[in-house]
């Protein structure tokens, strides 16, 4: 479960270009929910997602994930949450382009602190789950957008995180491929019970989620199922 209380995020604090991107955001997301975050460009959606993914810090408030309070943790503990608790999918896929699909999916396994027996098999299983097992050996720069996003999703789920965060995962894809990717997220949510949080501009995508959280100017203005 995720609980955010009054999260405030200021970029470049105490500088000329200081900007308050989140102005006290509070919400709770239960395990197994499929949530969409929508809002205008610049509203603070990505900022929120980065905080959830432990990629960025925040100034005040409280963020609790599975009973761990994410504040002032050591480098290592942050890394461990990123590695084990969240899987991140980005609009531009964020793949290492010259690595193969398999190598990309192996990355979270390489940095895992857990003892994992057959890393390669585990990565192949993840690729199978997103339906591109046969592309394992292909370098990512030879893949189509949809295929790349599948690799990114396989990488996000390979460590079996409880939460998958996706920042406009269909933004760079055509609508049909976007649809397929969305089906994949739904499947991960329904069949495996993973929490999925999707930032999107697309109302059609948002409609398919259990709940829609709308952000405007760094504040939650709508939070409804």
């Amino acid at each position: 479960m995720i609980k955010l209380t009054n999260i405030q995020k200021v970029y470049n604090p105490r500088k000329a270009n200081e900007f308050e991107a989140l102005k006290g955001v509070s919400c709770e997301i239960e395990d197994g929910e499929l949530v969409a975050i929508i809002g205008k460009s610049g509203a603070g959606k990505s900022t929120l997602l980065h905080i959830l993914a432990c990629i960025d810090s925040y100034q005040s408030g409280e963020y609790v994930i599975d009973d761990i309070t994410v504040k002032k943790l050591s480098e290592k503990k942050y890394a461990r949450i990123r590695n084990e608790k969240v899987g991140m999918v980005m609009q531009d896929f964020a793949l290492v382009e010259d690595f193969t699909a398999l190598e990309n999916v192996m990355i979270p396994l390489s940095f895992s602190k857990k003892k994992i027996k057959n890393k390669k098999q585990k990565a192949l299983d993840a690729l199978k789950q997103v339906g591109i097992e046969e592309l394992a050996k292909k370098p990512c720069n030879k893949l189509s957008g949809g295929q790349k996003q599948r690799v990114a999703i396989a990488r996000a789920i390979v460590n079996e995180p409880s939460m998958i965060l996706a920042d406009e995962p269909t933004g760079a894809l055509d609508s049909k491929t976007g649809e397929e990717i969305m089906e994949l997220f739904k499947k991960l949510n329904r069949e495996e019970g993973r929490t999925v949080i999707i930032v999107t501009h697309d109302p059609k995508i948002a409609e398919q989620c259990d709940r829609i959280i709308e952000i405007s100017d760094g504040e939650i203005v709508k939070n409804a199922g």
């Binding site: 980065h50 993914a53 990629i55 960025d56 480098e75 290592k76 942050y78 890394a79 461990r80 990123r82 590695n83 084990e84 991140m88 980005m90 531009d92 964020a94 793949l95 290492v96 382009e97 010259d98 690595f99 990355i107 979270p108 390489s110 940095f111 895992s112 990488r155 460590n159």
Partner: protein, 398 residues
């Protein structure tokens, strides 16, 4: 393991960029080593004589072109006796021995000098006696001088130096205490097909008894002597001595060590003084290049490293991966320069161009490699410092 894997991946990815850096680094290291090598080749000639040249003393002989007579030698010693201070008189001895393999010329030098000789050897060591490179005498062979058996423990390289204190020159420096020896060329004009007589260099203590017995009967003393003052002199005593020698300038030819030493030091340092400015310039340019390459590279790998970060790597992991990749660059350059130096030495070209590679080459190269590596790490640190992971993720990778 993962560091090596991702570091190596980064190294391969940026190889095209690294090529410039590797070439620059290898070139500097090579230049550096050649400079040191040429310094070494000069310093090695100076070292055995330094112990005398830095004291009061003279390079001296009786006047006259021919071999000094007994009387002339006695006169020389007489003059030395009137000098202030206590003196050690050093001369070299020479002889020729005939063995089955042919004639061998002996150059007998005093032990203090012999022990400091470090002219490169083709094989073996200086433990007993060394010979010039030739086909007739080899490692382990023995020859007899009187009743003393002499064993060859080392063989000098082609193009080598043989100590000899019979060369006098108005611009006397330490090089005049040596003859250059090549197995197929000699200062003396040879007949067709004739080879110069090989030379054995050996310490005086090994044949002292033979010298005592056979002086002037097969064993000959050098015309010149090194007269070394073993006591400290005052300025007055020095002047007094200079006056005495000047008064006797009809009887003797001499040159004070201080003069020889000054020229020798110039000779030794000349090679460095010539190349150091060049090396400094090249290094400055190259280090600037390295800084650029390194910062471009760090920026280019930034996105990929940020991807690793999102997947659970720490900032420290990212730094280590960068360091591994930089380390590979420096190592490859090092390997290239070592390979080139190896090729030079394997062909014996190092001797013909007067290079002597020693421990100081290793030391300086190591220091250089470590400093370059540290520079690359500082650059990475500075580039990384200002960046947030988010900005790295959107930075243009490739």
């Amino acid at each position: 393991m993962k560091y090596l894997k991702y570091g190596f991946a980064q190294f391969c990815r940026s190889f095209s960029l690294y090529v410039i850096m590797i070439a620059e680094l290898a070139a500097i290291m090579l230049a550096l080593n050649i400079a040191i090598g040429s310094y070494n080749s000069r310093n090695m000639l100076y070292k055995p004589f330094e112990q005398y040249l830095t004291r009061d003393g003279w390079f001296i002989r009786s006047a006259g072109i021919d071999k000094p007579t007994e009387a002339e030698n006695d006169k020389l010693y007489e003059i030395i006796d009137t000098l202030e201070g206590e003196y050690e008189i050093i001369s070299f001895y020479s002889s020729t021995v005939s063995a089955e393999a042919g004639d061998l010329r002996l150059t007998i030098v005093n032990d203090d000098i012999y022990n400091l000789l470090c002219i490169p050897l083709e094989e073996g060591d200086y433990s007993e006696a060394v010979v010039t490179l030739n086909t007739d005498f080899g490692l382990g062979d023995t020859v007899r001088l009187g009743s003393t058996e002499l064993k060859i423990s080392g063989v000098l390289t082609e193009n080598t130096y043989v100590p000899d204190i019979n060369n006098y020159n108005i611009d006397m420096d330490v090089t005049k205490f040596y003859n250059v020896f090549q197995s197929n060329v000699q200062l003396v004009q040879l007949n067709e097909g004739e080879k110069p007589t090989p030379i054995m260099i050996l310490p005086q203590s090994a044949v002292q008894s033979e010298i005592d017995k056979n002086l002037n009967h097969g064993i000959y003393q050098s015309f010149y002597r090194l007269v070394v003052c073993r006591t400290e002199l005052t300025e007055q005593q020095r002047e007094h001595n200079a006056d005495i020698l000047a008064e006797n300038s009809m009887e003797i030819v001499y040159m004070p060590f201080s003069k020889i030493n000054k020229r020798s030091e110039i000779y030794v340092n000349e090679s460095l003084q010539k190349v150091i400015p060049i090396i400094v310039c090249v290094s400055v340019i190259a280090i600037f290049g390295i800084l650029c390459c390194c910062s471009i590279n760090v920026s280019r790998s930034m996105r990929n490293n940020a991807v690793l970060y999102v997947c659970g790597a720490t900032q420290k992991d990212m730094r280590i991966i960068n360091a591994v990749s930089d380390f590979l660059v420096v190592s490859v350059s090092l390997v290239i320069s070592i390979a080139v130096l190896k090729i030079i030495t394997l062909n014996g070209a190092d001797n013909s161009i007067g290079l002597v590679l020693g421990n100081n080459n290793i030391l300086v190269t190591t220091v250089f490699v470590i400093s370059v590596f540290i520079i690359t790490q500082i650059v990475s640190y500075l580039v990384f410092k200002k960046k947030t992971i988010r900005s790295m993720l959107v930075s243009g990778g490739f």
